[in-house]
Symmetry: C2
Amino acid sequence: MISVGEARGLIDSSVQVMATKKINISTLMTNGIPGDHDHVLAEPIIADRPLPPMDRVTMDGIAILYSAYENGQRRFKITGCQRAGEPALTLKNGGQECVEVMTGSILPTGCNAVLRYEDLDIKDSVATIKDGTPVEQYMYVHRKGSDSAAGDVLIKAGTRLGPAEWAVAASVGQENITVVGKPRVALVATGDEILPVEAMPRDFEIRGSNLYALAAAMGQRGFPVSSTTHLRDDLTQMHDKLSGLLNSHDVIITTGGVSKGKFDHLPEVLTDLRVTKIFHEVSQRPGKPFWFGVGERGQLVFGLPGNPVSVLVGFYAHVLPALIKMSGGTYQKRLARLAAPVTFKPELTLFQPVTVSMGDDGVMCALPKSHNTSGDYVRLSGTDGVIELPATRQSFAEGELFPFHSWSLN
Amino acid sequence: MISVGEARGLIDSSVQVMATKKINISTLMTNGIPGDHDHVLAEPIIADRPLPPMDRVTMDGIAILYSAYENGQRRFKITGCQRAGEPALTLKNGGQECVEVMTGSILPTGCNAVLRYEDLDIKDSVATIKDGTPVEQYMYVHRKGSDSAAGDVLIKAGTRLGPAEWAVAASVGQENITVVGKPRVALVATGDEILPVEAMPRDFEIRGSNLYALAAAMGQRGFPVSSTTHLRDDLTQMHDKLSGLLNSHDVIITTGGVSKGKFDHLPEVLTDLRVTKIFHEVSQRPGKPFWFGVGERGQLVFGLPGNPVSVLVGFYAHVLPALIKMSGGTYQKRLARLAAPVTFKPELTLFQPVTVSMGDDGVMCALPKSHNTSGDYVRLSGTDGVIELPATRQSFAEGELFPFHSWSLN
């Protein structure tokens, strides 16, 4: 049995970053698929023209010729108004006059300084500069090309697309953006006892819930679900359906069917389908019977045990970092401070459900949720995630910092 | 001019929580709209039957009658196999025999303890308990009804739906879930200089980018965009279009048109449309000319200045908390530690763009991104958000904690 750290290393080295794809910037507005706004850039965003493309006025007021000010002039007749979105007006009469200018407009030809309304008295179309107003050349002008030249890289490949990055792409007219693709993920529940949500189960049956937990967790982190399947504990059906899923997906996440039971066929079926087993069993609780393998095309198969807490722990601790890396990103580690002591004897990494709150000292405080053996979703409701307590120790003191995996994310 | 704190208070007290709506659990799987998985529960989730609904076996192994063990019996003939999803078998012969059991199956009738394969030697259909194995009544059995009785509240109204909560809803067969609705949000850019992404602007024109930044920010936090509009600086057009948008939306977020410029018509038009001005101008940088009002139906109108950094700061500092509260949730405050000193003279709250990283001591470290007057999206690329430095001070030391608003969220 391998450690959590070894499992992570083996998964990490099995990950292949997805091929690139193009997304159209309009997807941002059309609300197609969760996470469509959240991609890693595969090609840089390049300036199509100088930035700013003009000498741009940054304050509402007047534009003047600076040398007139230098020569002592303080009163300027307003001869026009430079609106944003209109071609440059031209200042005439050697700087004796001025042009009213609006924020975002081009600086009128012949002007080289802007004064704000706040620094002016305006009466009868004459603007007078208030005493004590500091005036400098190109004041309140964002000079053409001062940020970037045409052809400059504005955003490097490898950057995660957030609000600012999308806006830059829009501003340079890049309608189609080349990003790292996201894996097509199949969710697969196994077990004869599992019925659909709309069914009325008998006492020995239950409604399936694991796939809903996984779908919500994926959606929250910006990963769409490509397909969901329920497999009965039947060798032939499993073989046929998994074969199809392996052809059409990059990642398969299964729940159940990987323990010691007589009908836990998954490892056998997957091996049959030429999915190479990388490991089976990780020294952790919950989620020890975790199976992981790699298919012929590099598909990752995560065989999570069927227990609800195991499913969520397996997803956040092992699957999510792989999905993020496949999509070109980096899993961000978080730390939280244990708010109550924990004792745990077995030589296993303990993933302890906790509720968290931001402490006054800026450290996330993690309060362990009382132990329960049932491991069901009801007991997890209201928790924020799990804190990861290493297998090398048996007692963990209040106040110590440990890795924290969030499922409430905000 | 009001302070940032006052602005927050005024916005907060203008918020009305949205009406409830029903969402079907299948939306989780169909990838309809970003944030569909992320709602606040408006009605509790109730147990439809006892939880667990049966005496449920939690380990693969055998089930026995405990009194036989108590009477010294250690060898049990296996007479059947209790599969998950099948009706209970019955143990016969007064406990001399045993039934093989699978995790997730119902406990066979007549049994009241389970032994794991690990604690058994099985040969010729006879299971022998290994010496030293502790055996207790109902060991490895999750008792029927031990978690909840039928009719119990499993998840309270007001809980945010995360992976565990969705799973609980599925497990009790609740296909339609009553949640707090989300506001219909209109994004509106203003300005004659603004062209669509696909246009080839002349030097005095730019492509619109603010709405892309806002749409990405909203999508990231689970809020869909209901409509996007560009308004020219034209009184009549503004009046007509905003009138329609006010009828069909709960929130309108505008960019530009709220400063001192001669064509900044928005405040006038909104007042005309019976949107009551709550405030105009907040003592913050960037984003001072921020306008906020409430329409006749309680619609919130956020008039953000057109400067890119102002747009993002305004969204995260003022709009997002309102959207979250409207949707029944709570804005989670975060703190970060300033990683370099900042001096800022004006009596304004400074929203300083920063990059953040998790420190070894569990505190988020925020490194200020060098100042720039241009305030464009290129300079924001790669930053993670803004740290909020209060107006009451001019210098802020390295190592101090301040509120942090994230736009990279992970």
